[in-house]
C-alpha cells in the first residue's frame, strides 16, 4: 500500500487531467462517498488526492441549446432547485428531491454519484431514461481528449465503469426531451430519507394519442448495475396504454430485473417492488 504524497486543487481542467495521467490520483468533489469508503477501509487513497470542485467550467447546468449539459461538479441540490431542469427534465429533479438528505445533497455531485457506480445510485435511472451520455476527458499527447459514452454502456458492475483511471467525468449531457415527453421516478427504502434505494424505477417516453413511444425504462438496485429494462420497453413501445399493455409490461419486468438477496432486501421483495413501481408509473402517466 502506498502513501498519499500530494494534495492538488486545480482550477483548470488540463491541470487536473495532467495530474491524473499517471493513474495515481484519487478524485473527489463533495467527498460524501469517498469519505466513508476510505474511513471503513473499503477503498485506499492513491498517491495524489485531487479535489476537482474548483475546476472552472466543470459545474453548472446549461440548457440553452438542444442539448442539456450538467457539469460533473454540479451538486444534487443545484439539480433539485434548477428551474430550467424542472421544466425540461422534471424526472431528474424528482430523483434529486428524494436523494439522501439536504446536507448530503448540498455536497454530493452528479459526477461523483455516477462514478461511484452503485447499482442504487439515484441519479442513474432518471439520466438513463433521458438517454444521457457522460463525457470523459483525459490528457494525451499534450492535449485534452474527450469522448462520450452513453450512460447505459458506462456501468460495468458495482463500483466499476468504463472510465479509465486517467479519465475524468466532466459532464453528463442529454438531448432536450421532445414535446410530449413524460418522465416518472419511484424509489423505495425503509424510510423516505437517507436511504439507499431498495428498488428504483424510472420511465421516460413520448406520450401521444394514448400511446407511449421512444420508451425508456430504467431500474436501480435490481442488478449489478443500473439498467435499461429492454423487455418492459418492448412491451410498451407504440402500444395503447391500456390494461392489457400494463399487464404485459409488469410481466416483462421479471425478465429485466435480476435482483439478489442482501442486507437491505430479499430478491423476492425487490422483484415484487419493481413490478409494483412499473405499474404505478404507467398508471400515473395514464391518469394525466
Amino acid at each position: 500500500m502506498q502513501e498519499l504524497s500530494a494534495y492538488l486543487v486545480p482550477h483548470r481542467l488540463d491541470e487536473a487531467l495532467q495530474a491524473m495521467a499517471d493513474d495515481e490520483a484519487t478524485v473527489f468533489c463533495g467527498g460524501t462517498d469517498l469519505s466513508p469508503q476510505t474511513e471503513s477501509g473499503a477503498r485506499q487513497y492513491k498517491a495524489t488526492l485531487l479535489n476537482i470542485r474548483r475546476i472552472e467550467g466543470l459545474g453548472g447546468i446549461d440548457a440553452q441549446g438542444d442539448e442539456i449539459r450538467i457539469g460533473a461538479t454540479t451538486t444534487v441540490s443545484e439539480i433539485r432547485r434548477s428551474a430550467v431542469l424542472a421544466e425540461v427534465a422534471p424526472v431528474l429533479v424528482e430523483a434529486a428531491e428524494h436523494f439522501a438528505s439536504e446536507q448530503i445533497r448540498n455536497a454530493a455531485s452528479v459526477g461523483g454519484n455516477l462514478c461511484n457506480a452503485s447499482p442504487a445510485g439515484d441519479m442513474s435511472p432518471p439520466l438513463l431514461v433521458l438517454g444521457a451520455s457522460v463525457e470523459l476527458a483525459c490528457w494525451r499527447n499534450d492535449a485534452v481528449h474527450t469522448r462520450r459514452v452513453p450512460l447505459e454502456r458506462f456501468f460495468l458492475g458495482p463500483g466499476k465503469t468504463v472510465r479509465l483511471p486517467q479519465e475524468l467525468l466532466t459532464a453528463v449531457v442529454f438531448e432536450r426531451p421532445a414535446a410530449g415527453f413524460v418522465g416518472r421516478f419511484r424509489k423505495a427504502g425503509p424510510r423516505p430519507a437517507l436511504e439507499i434505494s431498495t428498488v428504483s424505477v424510472a420511465l421516460g417516453a413520448r406520450f401521444a394519442d394514448g400511446r407511449l413511444r421512444d420508451v425508456r425504462v430504467a431500474m436501480g438496485s435490481v442488478a449489478p448495475t443500473p439498467l435499461r429494462a429492454r423487455h418492459v420497453e418492448a412491451a410498451l413501445e407504440g402500444q395503447p396504454l391500456n390494461a392489457a399493455t400494463l399487464a404485459a409490461a409488469v410481466e416483462a419486468a421479471a425478465e429485466d430485473a435480476k435482483p439478489i438477496d442482501d442486507v437491505r432486501a430479499s430478491a423476492w421483495y425487490r422483484g415484487h417492488l419493481v413490478r409494483v413501481f412499473v405499474e404505478e408509473v404507467l398508471n400515473d402517466v395514464r391518469r394525466d
Binding site: 494534495y7 486543487v9 463533495g30 469519505s35 487513497y45 441540490s77 438528505s101 446536507q103 455536497a107
Partner: protein, 161 residues
C-alpha cells in the same frame, strides 16, 4: 501520516489559518485542531446530521467533508450562531419548547433548522420535517423540535448571519 496542507478560511466570522492533513475531515479539524466541540461526532458517515455546519451558507455533514476544501470558504458552526445579545432566536426557541433531551443532536438540528428558516421564511411544519430528515434524534424528540422551528418560522424573526 498523510501529507499536510496549509489552508485559510473564515470561521464564525474570523479569519483562521492552519495546517491540516489532506485526508482530515472538517469535523475533526473543528473539534481536535480548533477546539470547537459544539459540532458533534456521532455516526461519522453522514447518516445522522449531528455534525452539521454551514459552508458558504449551505449546510453539510462536516464528518464527510475534507478539511482542505474549507480553504477560502466561509464556515459557520453552532458556536458562530450566537448573537451579541446572547442565544440566537432559533436556539432560544429550542430552549423554550423543551426540544432538547440528551442534547447530542441539538447543534446539528439547530444549524439545519436555522438554514431552513433562512431559506424559507414561510416554512411549514411539513417542509421543516422534510428539511430535517437528515438529522436524527435518538431520544425521539421530533415533535418539540418541530414546534420550536415552527415558532421561529411563524415569528419570522430569524436573522441571517
Amino acid at each position: 501520516m498523510s501529507v499536510e496542507t496549509e489552508i485559510r478560511f473564515k470561521l464564525n466570522g474570523r479569519e483562521v489559518g492552519l495546517k491540516v492533513p489532506a485526508t482530515m475531515k472538517t469535523l475533526a479539524m473543528l473539534r481536535d485542531k480548533l477546539g470547537l466541540t459544539g459540532t458533534k461526532y456521532a455516526c461519522g458517515e453522514g447518516e445522522c446530521g449531528a455534525c452539521t455546519v454551514r459552508i458558504d451558507g449551505k449546510t453539510v455533514n462536516s464528518c464527510l467533508m475534507y478539511a482542505v476544501d474549507c480553504d477560502g470558504r466561509e464556515v459557520v458552526t453552532i458556536e458562530g450562531l450566537r448573537t451579541p445579545e446572547g442565544l440566537h432566536p432559533m436556539q432560544q426557541a429550542f430552549v423554550e419548547h423543551g426540544a432538547v433531551q440528551c442534547g447530542f443532536c441539538m447543534p446539528g438540528m439547530i444549524m439545519q433548522a436555522q438554514y431552513l428558516v433562512e431559506n424559507n421564511p414561510d416554512l411549514t411544519r411539513e417542509e421543516a420535517q422534510r428539511g430535517l430528515e437528515g438529522n436524527l434524534c435518538r431520544c425521539t424528540g421530533y415533535t418539540k423540535v418541530l414546534d420550536a422551528v415552527q415558532a421561529v418560522a411563524g415569528r419570522n424573526e430569524c436573522r441571517s448571519r
